[in-house]
């Protein structure tokens, strides 16, 4: 994955964008952090966050003009958070606030600051901290500028004194009663100072109405021309800001402080011959791209202090702080158990994926995260920046496979299961008996054939009856397990084999029984005439329903994630349910916002824990029975105790009791069902003599052992292979304690061990286990 592509993807995730308040604050105070600290009654931590950005927190906590208010998300619901009041609470309730100043080596440059108001003093502090020599010229008898015009009641003098103590910690030369003018030949002219000093920050406030006074170039409005981002003037080493720039109508203490910081940065850049303009977009106020969902947030009016003269009590401060939404996005994390499981969000995950792919030596810690994603695409649906973690994970898997870095165990079983379905054991392709060509071919898919072979048979017969110009049948797997596993070559081979079979049938229209096959065919062959069985049934009508009165069920539709964008297909499902006389309940996240059942992306094989969390979360969204139209969705929900129907269960009702709570077949049975379906259809529909699998080994497996095998993904065919090998070669151990045998066999990459006892013409299986380490011999 290219660094550039990674950066683009990272930027799509806006979770790390600052909240609106912080972005709107000219000095970017971490308001969210401060408010969160107050919620925990940690006023000192809150005050420190203010101090980190503002050199005079005790002053600003009384007089800030709060540009943050306009950007407060709460304003869209009721009223903005009382940020300045909360800042005051932090300052008043913190015994001591200290600013850590790391001494920098002194520099041989000297800067003149003209005007010791908040802006000039901020620039002085910032430049002093960087090691510059700073000389302040102030016209009045004390520093502070216009803050002295504010009433003592609003701004206690004690606050000023405490904040200005910082001026003594930094070596600054302060010259009071010095009026800088622009009289030629005067030692105190701006021309003279700008020539004598390395740089100048002009921050005299709005006392001087005559801008011509300074001899600086003016803009069209007759004001000193000042670059808005750098505060540069027409004289290269002179910068100007604060109220001098803002004017009497736009006076803003926090903006003046911000200008002090911007000017200090500009002067530093200027003196180091660095670009004045590069990467400064986020200095000063900007608009944040952070998205915060406010749906469902209850209105709550701003807390008014009981005694306005005193401000908030601590109880009031906490109450007001708790109104804060602590804005963040996390839209995707809220809807996805997988994204929540790793305790971060896509921006971090994308970085982890990239780092994981870049490791040459060492542990690939993100393998687990990359392989656990179900690739369902819901994150993209809900993301304000449309970031799709699935695409990133799938791309990472492809790279891992190519580099030979994909842990073999993750997808091995699913891929072998796929190979079963693409092998002669299941793959099958024929025109309808009595037809030399097919107008249509039915492709039921491997999982529907494994879960409900009887429905596949019924549906094929129904289609043959309804569509009169030849309905062919193709059994096989669309290859999605290989696609999900990042096995590009295997996927291409699989899809090519299907294409070849389809062309041999004369490239007829394809009707798929599985929504996932539908999505794959549609994606891979845009020109193929492919339709889902559901839209077809909606058009041609349903098979005749038995006349017996049936119960009208209240069903919750769980849409399949692989067809989240197929609105017509989803609509057909609902229409069919209405036709069948059932009631439809919609989940909050349905249609294009549907959630995955835990099977997508082979999640169930890569990380059963998260898959089960997904199933559980989805199952709990309604107490009513689920209605699915994908065999894996149905079996996954049913496996964890959620009553679920496949739509075909309702179209072709059987005599089976309580189909909704019936667990799906196990892995071995699924393969056997596919193989049997092929044999049955071959025999019954085409009258062909099917090859019956010759197997002399009969197994007896208790339900308990069956569960073990299912958990370890050991198939009956693996057990038979071990026993056949042991009985044939005699290579086995005997357990003298119970007279059972223990033997192993390695058909491919996994070595299987089975403990068994012969019992008449069968073998009783006691236990089985497996490993991947290979025994090379002694």
């Amino acid at each position: 994955m290219e660094q550039k592509a990674l950066k683009e993807r990272e930027q799509q995730c806006i979770q790390e964008q600052p909240p609106g308040c912080t972005a709107a604050c000219p000095v970017h105070v971490d308001v969210r952090g401060m408010v969160a600290a107050i919620q925990k009654e940690d006023y000192k931590a809150g005050g420190q966050l203010l101090y980190n950005m503002v050199p005079f927190p005790r002053i600003i906590s009384r007089i800030c003009d709060q540009p943050c208010q306009q950007a407060c998300k709460r304003q869209e619901i009721d009223e903005a958070i009382a940020v300045n009041e909360l800042e005051k609470s932090c300052v008043d309730n913190s015994k001591e606030l200290t600013l850590k100043i790391t001494p920098m080596p002194p520099k041989d440059k000297t800067i003149a600051i003209i005007g010791a108001g908040l802006s000039g003093l901020t620039a002085a502090v910032e430049l002093g901290k960087k090691g510059y020599n700073v000389v302040i010229f102030e016209a009045k008898k004390l520093v502070g500028g216009s803050i002295w015009d504010i009433s003592e009641h609003r701004l206690p003098r004690q606050n000023i004194a405490e904040d200005f103590a910082i001026l003594k910690r930094i070596p600054l030369e302060i010259n009071l009663h010095v009026i800088v003018n622009n009289h030629k030949n005067s030692k105190m002219s701006l021309d003279h100072i700008s020539a004598a000093f390395d740089a100048v920050y002009l921050a005299t406030g709005c006392i001087e109405a005559n801008t011509h006074y300074w001899g600086l170039a003016l803009d069209v409005g007759g004001r000193i021309a000042i670059h808005p981002a750098t505060l540069a003037t027409s004289v290269p080493n002179v910068f100007a800001g604060g109220s001098l720039y803002l004017g009497p109508d736009r006076k803003s203490p926090i903006t003046s402080i911000s200008h002090g910081k911007i000017a200090a940065n500009s002067i530093d850049r200027f003196l180091q011959n660095a670009s004045l303009t590069a990467s400064r977009e986020k200095e000063g106020p900007f608009t944040s791209l952070l998205y915060t969902n406010i749906a469902g947030v209850e209105p709550q009016t701003k807390v008014r202090s009981a005694d306005p003269n005193q401000g908030y009590t601590t109880e009031e401060a906490v109450k007001e702080a708790k109104r804060c939404l602590l804005c963040e996005c996390l839209e995707c994390v809220k809807v996805c158990e997988y994204l929540a499981h790793f305790h971060a969000y896509p921006k971090r995950y994308v970085r982890e994926v990239y780092n994981n792919l870049s490791i040459v030596m060492g542990v690939h810690h993100a393998n687990k995260m990359i392989n656990a994603c179900n690739l369902c695409g819901l994150c993209e649906q809900v993301c304000p920046g449309n970031l799709n973690m699935g695409e990133i994970c799938q791309e990472a898997r492809r790279i891992m496979v190519k580099k030979g870095k994909m842990p073999p165990r993750v997808h091995d079983f699913a891929l072998r299961d796929m190979q079963f379905s693409t092998s002669e054991k299941f793959a099958f392709s024929r025109h309808q008996p009595g037809f030399a060509s097919s107008s249509t071919v039915f492709f039921p898919g491997c999982q529907l054939s494994a879960s409900s072979p009887e429905h596949v048979k019924s549906m094929y017969q129904f289609l043959c009856k309804k569509i009169t110009d030849g309905v062919g049948l193709m059994l096989g797997c669309c290859g999605i397990p290989a696609d999900w596993a990042g096995q590009e070559n295997l996927f291409k081979e699989t899809i090519k084999a299907i294409e070849d079979s389809w062309r041999k049938l004369g490239s007829p229209r394809v009707i798929t029984g599985c929504p996932t096959c539908y999505s794959i065919f549609k994606r891979e062959w845009p020109s193929m005439d492919v339709e889902s069985i559901w839209t077809v049934l909606d058009k041609i009508g349903l098979p005749d329903q038995k006349k017996e009165p049936h119960t009208s069920l209240k069903l919750v539709v769980h849409d399949t994630c692989t067809t989240r964008h197929e609105a017509a297909l989803q609509q057909s499902i609902r229409k069919i349910l209405h036709t069948l006389g059932h009631q439809v309940e919609e989940l909050e996240n349905s249609n294009e916002f549907t959630e995955c059942c835990g099977y997508g992306g082979l999640m169930l094989f890569a990380n059963k824990e998260i898959a089960h969390k997904m199933i559980k979360k989805r199952s709990q969204q309604s107490e009513n029975d689920f209605l699915t139209y994908c065999a894996m969705c149905r079996d996954n929900f049913a496996s964890q105790g959620k009553r679920s129907y496949h739509l075909l269960d309702l179209i072709f009702p059987t005599r089976q009791q309580d189909v909704a709570s019936k667990k799906g077949p196990g892995y071995s049975e699924r393969q056997e069902n596919r193989a049997r379906l092929k044999r049955t259809l071959q025999k019954e529909v085409w009258g062909e003599l099917a090859d019956k699998e010759q197997c002399n080994v009969k197994l007896i497996i208790s339900e308990k052992v069956q569960q073990v095998l299912e958990e370890l993904m050991i198939l009956d065919s693996d057990i038979i292979a071990v026993i056949s090998h042991a009985e044939h070669t005699g290579n086995k151990f005997k357990n003298m304690e119970n007279n059972s045998y223990i033997a192993s066999f390695k058909p491919a990459s996994v070595t299987y061990w089975v403990e068994y006892s012969p019992q008449e013409d069968s073998f009783l299986v006691h236990n089985a286990y497996s490993h991947r380490l290979e025994i090379k011999g002694s």
Partner: protein, 66 residues
């Protein structure tokens, strides 16, 4: 466990108890010599369930993430 193996598991072909012996295990291009129970005569190696599900599983996972 070890004593149990020695006592109760025998090689079916050679009809003798197992003994600890050197075996090389390999995975993903890595090889390690280990001591495992095997038939002293024919060399058939026995991997008990605990070993497969415990240590071997851990080693496999660690190597897969390398």
């Amino acid at each position: 466990m070890d004593k149990q193996v020695q006592k109760i598991i025998i090689c079916n072909t050679c009809n003798i108890p197992l003994a600890l012996g050197k075996v090389t295990l390999s995975y993903l291009g890595n090889e390690f010599p280990v001591e495992l129970f095997k038939c002293p005569q024919c060399g058939l190696v026995y991997i008990p369930e605990e070993l497969a599900k415990g240590k071997m599983d851990q080693v496999e996972k660690a190597l897969e993430d390398k």
